[in-house]
Symmetry: C2
Subunit: 356 residues, 2 copies
């Protein structure tokens, strides 16, 4: 039976990408060798890295003056890397606290200097994106989408030209059009809309680097990686290759503008049913709802086992909410077809018919 | 034509491992889902991580009191991680300098405190493992095998019980029997004898941790990863899975003792020909020769193009030496069959016959 994969990440990838990645593990382009047993300095792999970086620039209309990197360590190491490269010695860094990942980013930044949390929704268990006043610090860090709580920034903070905006976009990169020029740093773990777990992508404004007054360890220094064309050390070849395939796929179906329409259609279908169906209620405030992760719960807890059986029987995978808020989470990343959301909505309607 | 893959890393992996890894990218164990689109918290993947860690312990006879981790960032981030976890605040750390990777490790350690290079072969372009006197520092760091120069420690330094031995074993882990109890930390990038690029394995003596007096960033703190069973953040699932397959393969063919015999046979065959054939000469001193990477050059430079054509025609891949020493490098990692070494040796003999 076909699976409908709502997993929060690692998550669904396009079927054609999985097939091509699988083929390359056997043999890369009739080379007689597997993708994973050739040198990362070989022409075929250098071409892969170059294409992956170029596709990021093309798909997001990255302006001149920015570089793209594929590194390791996930966004969790990105929290530290962001702070090392942008948190100026002796100054305060501003952070918005919108949940677990923001808190993790704040924790790492505090090792390097003072942090000011300029907005937080912690008092309401992170069910919305908090409003922000004027920012006076040299840099502001945000988490654009919050997988656990199902919230998402609907507009980006506007800073002065001498202030730096840093964003962890792990869970909504490539899902909607963004203006890269608004940001000094964007970073994103691959395992939602870009590829498999094992690489983290950075888009960095090069002129913003080198201004913190810090000695930066080599692996955490974005300038080191830029100078080596993202090959300071052996890159995670499979994760980079498969990310490249996914970006090719995205380009092939019309790019970010096209996938944004699909993502908006999926989210509309999903939230309409959550709001309509008396057996369910949404978690996040309407104005902060994520197009990537819809969080909701069942209104009568004793009915949960029956609902769980129904969606399991329908071939739905990965619908359980994160342990910190419970309930359900429908993650609707780029590769999830509208059809899968329809299957879930149909299950919810059928559940209402039989248990309402 | 069959390729004989002498690549220095990423390098040859067993054919059966490539096939199984390829299959899992399409579908993991009849789950209806790809390995790379399921949650890392799902039962199937937790089982993979557990088996990979258990196989390391079994294959290397890891004693009680040690933990095994699969992380990201390669040995290059390992240099920093080793220093953060073992370089005591205010004390000197001892390092042996046996080449480029040792120097990179020393560079990161110097960010955290004073480093004393207690032995070095830099004056002779790293063509041997230098002798060492008594070590007085709390910790000693070594690179057990030096891929670029083709040297390898033939016996491990013996320290007092209160001193800590740290080893980067990226390029000879699992190639020979070791006594893990001699070490407080072993770390190794996967992409030689263990799996694809994209994960780095740590074997750490837990009671040696937490004694540096430092605040350690989360991703660099080995205790953080131990407490989360190597899942502090999303692990590089493909690299861990494929490493597990390679370790299963190694166990299946008889384990480390068995592969050590094969590696010794391959090295003997290779070095015998280098020493015998008047058209070639070895780079490393005999007593320091690596069983993993045989470095050699051609005695008449003008014959190089002819030799290059011959080995290329024989289906040999990855024989060019590193740019810093030139010449040739035959990397003979675990998965390289004796037959491939024989093919290279036959080419060298034929080259002597036609050009000697």
């Amino acid at each position: 039976m076909k699976k409908h994969n709502f997993s929060a990440g690692p998550c669904i990838l396009p079927q054609s990408v999985l097939q091509q990645a699988s083929d390359a593990v056997r043999e890369l382009d009739n080379s007689g060798l597997s993708l994973i047993e050739i040198s990362h300095r070989s022409k075929p792999f250098v071409a892969v890295m170059d294409e992956a970086r170029a596709l990021v620039k093309e798909l997001l209309n990255v302006p001149e003056g920015y570089e793209v990197l594929f590194l390791q360590g996930g966004a969790s190491l990105g929290f530290l890397t962001a702070a090392y490269n942008f948190h100026k010695e002796g100054e305060k860094a501003a952070y918005v606290n919108t949940g677990a990942w923001s808190k993790a980013a704040i924790k790492e930044a505090k090792l390097l200097g003072e942090v000011e949390v300029v907005a937080s929704s912690e008092d309401s268990n992170f069910n919305h994106i908090p409003a922000m006043g004027n920012i006076s610090q040299p840099s502001l860090h945000i988490t654009t989408n919050n997988t656990i709580f199902g919230t998402q920034f609907k507009s980006m903070p506007q800073l002065n030209s001498d202030q730096m905006l840093l964003a962890d976009m792990s869970s909504d990169i490539f899902s909607q059009e963004i203006n890269v020029a608004d940001f000094d740093l964007i970073y994103a773990g691959a395992q939602k809309n870009m590829g498999p777990a094992g690489t983290v992508m950075y888009i960095v404004k090069t002129e913003s680097l080198g201004k913190t007054g810090r000695a930066i360890p080599s692996y955490l220094d974005l300038n080191v990686h830029i100078k080596k064309d993202s090959m300071f050390n052996t890159p995670p070849v499979f994760a980079v290759y498969t990310s490249m395939l996914t970006l090719r796929w995205l380009k092939g179906i019309g790019g970010v503008a096209e996938i944004q329409k699909l993502n908006e259609a999926k989210a509309k279908l999903m939230y309409s049913e959550i709001d309509r169906n008396p057996l369910f209620k949404g978690f996040a405030q309407e104005s902060s709802r994520s197009n990537m992760n819809a969080t909701f719960s069942i209104t009568q807890d004793d009915l949960a086992p029956a609902f769980d059986k129904m969606w399991n029987d329908a071939g739905i995978n990965g619908l359980k909410g994160h342990r910190s808020i419970g309930g359900y989470r429908a993650s609707m990343y780029n590769a999830l077809p509208l059809e899968s959301v329809q299957v879930l909505v149909d299950v919810m309607k059928e559940f209402e018919r039989t248990h309402g």
